[in-house]
């Protein structure tokens, strides 16, 4: 996680700058930077808040942009059910995209023993802490320094590069590469969809097609 923290930091910085230049009051922007902890839903909600959209529209938009986390939560369930509910909700709040990706990459299956589970939770906590700190501190900095960092520098691209590195590290099989290509194609073709639904559609199409292809290519291996 420390390896990607500079990318998260630059990305948080640029999100902070974008929020600060949106016309919202400084205190509101700071509250959002510290509390919401979901960059894409923040950036999607800001124009709606500015336009005086009804509360339910803003919340529905935030929910849709966050739908990918619902998919992640189904995956994480097996890793977390040994915790009491309040702790699970805490974990849920802090586990954003990169923490989820790195955690499931490092631990492909949920811990079977107490020691394994403690090990996994320790990794999750450390990873999420670094992610939260670098994101939150830098987006607050971005809000404060907004007047001095022109968006034209393109520092936000560092966040894209951080995600690119993670993307490459996940490309460990041909089927996964196919999943990435399908996801990118659908997301680009569906870009005009509202509420960032193109991302969700891309995930759904990739997962379904890859699973269909998998069962078509190796039906006997799966029945075994």
């Amino acid at each position: 996680m420390l390896m990607v923290a500079p990318g998260i930091a630059a990305w948080g910085l640029m999100t902070g700058v974008a929020m600060a230049t949106s016309g919202m009051h400084t205190s509101e922007v700071l509250a959002m930077a510290i509390l919401v902890f979901a960059g894409s839903s923040q950036l999607a909600a800001i124009p709606l808040i500015g336009a005086g959209a009804p509360l339910w529209v803003i919340l529905a938009t935030a929910f849709c942009v966050n739908l990918r986390f619902v998919v992640f939560s189904a995956h994480l369930r097996g890793y977390l059910m040994h915790l009491p509910r309040m702790q699970r909700l805490m974990v849920g709040y802090f586990v954003a995209d990169l923490t989820y990706v790195l955690f499931t990459k490092r631990y492909p299956v949920p811990g079977a023993t107490e020691a394994e589970r403690i090990d996994q939770m320790a990794y999750l906590a450390g990873n999420a802490t670094i992610n939260w700190l670098s994101w939150t501190v830098c987006s607050v900095l971005g809000v404060v320094l907004a007047n001095y960092i022109p968006p034209a520098w393109g520092l936000g691209f560092a966040g894209v590069l951080a995600l690119t590195g993670i993307l490459c590290s996940l490309a460990t099989s041909r089927m996964r590469v196919l999943s990435a290509i399908l996801g990118a194609l659908v997301a680009i073709m569906g870009y005009a969809l509202p509420l960032k639904l193109n991302i969700l559609l891309a995930i759904a199409v990739s997962v379904v097609l890859c699973m269909l292809l998998e069962s078509y290519a190796a039906p006997t291996a799966q029945e075994a």
Binding site: V4, H25, T26, S27, E28, A31, L35, V36, F37, A38, S41, Q42, A45, L55, I58, L59, R68, F69, V71, F72, S73, A74, H75, L76, R85, R88, G92, Y93, D97, Y100, V101, W153, G154, F157, A158, V160, L161, T164, G165, I166, L167, C168, S169, L170, A171, S179, A180, I181, G183, A184, A187, I188, Y191, N198, A202, I203, S206, V207, V208, E214
Partner: protein, 127 residues
């Protein structure tokens, strides 16, 4: 309470609208609900194994769906030019990753190499 208000006033942070603050708090709740969605309930339930298998394709698809439009689209339209610094930044970063894959610094190197290709092209040539 008065001390807090005086402090906020001194920093110019007394301008929040209650309605907007409520919106922000509810957005934080949305963050918790979506990220915890399938492990809020205590009811015994495990993901079917076919779904477990399918899940391995979700993260890479999600990342590709977020990253590639950021590199290949401008204002919601697919780019029509090769004079775009993002293409070369991302290619250089990816190439570095596969050259150095396995080393602990591969992702950090992806960022550093990618930015050192991107910034000169972007600021120098206005790509």
């Amino acid at each position: 309470m008065e001390a807090i208000m005086a402090y906020l006033n001194a920093w110019g942070l007394n301008d929040a609208q209650p309605w907007t603050l409520l919106t922000i708090l509810l957005m934080a709740c949305i963050t918790v609900v979506t990220r915890s969605f399938f492990f809020i309930s205590d009811a015994p339930w495990t993901l079917p194994s076919w779904a477990q298998r399918g899940m391995q394709y979700a993260p890479i698809a999600a990342l590709a769906a977020v990253v590639l439009p950021e590199v290949l689209m401008t204002q919601g339209v697919f780019i029509h030019t090769l004079a775009d610094a993002r293409i070369y930044g991302a290619l250089a970063g990816g190439a570095y990753f596969f050259w150095r894959r396995g080393s602990g610094q591969a992702v950090l190197g992806t960022i550093v190499v990618g930015m050192s290709v991107y910034i000169p092209l972007h600021l120098g040539l206005q790509w």
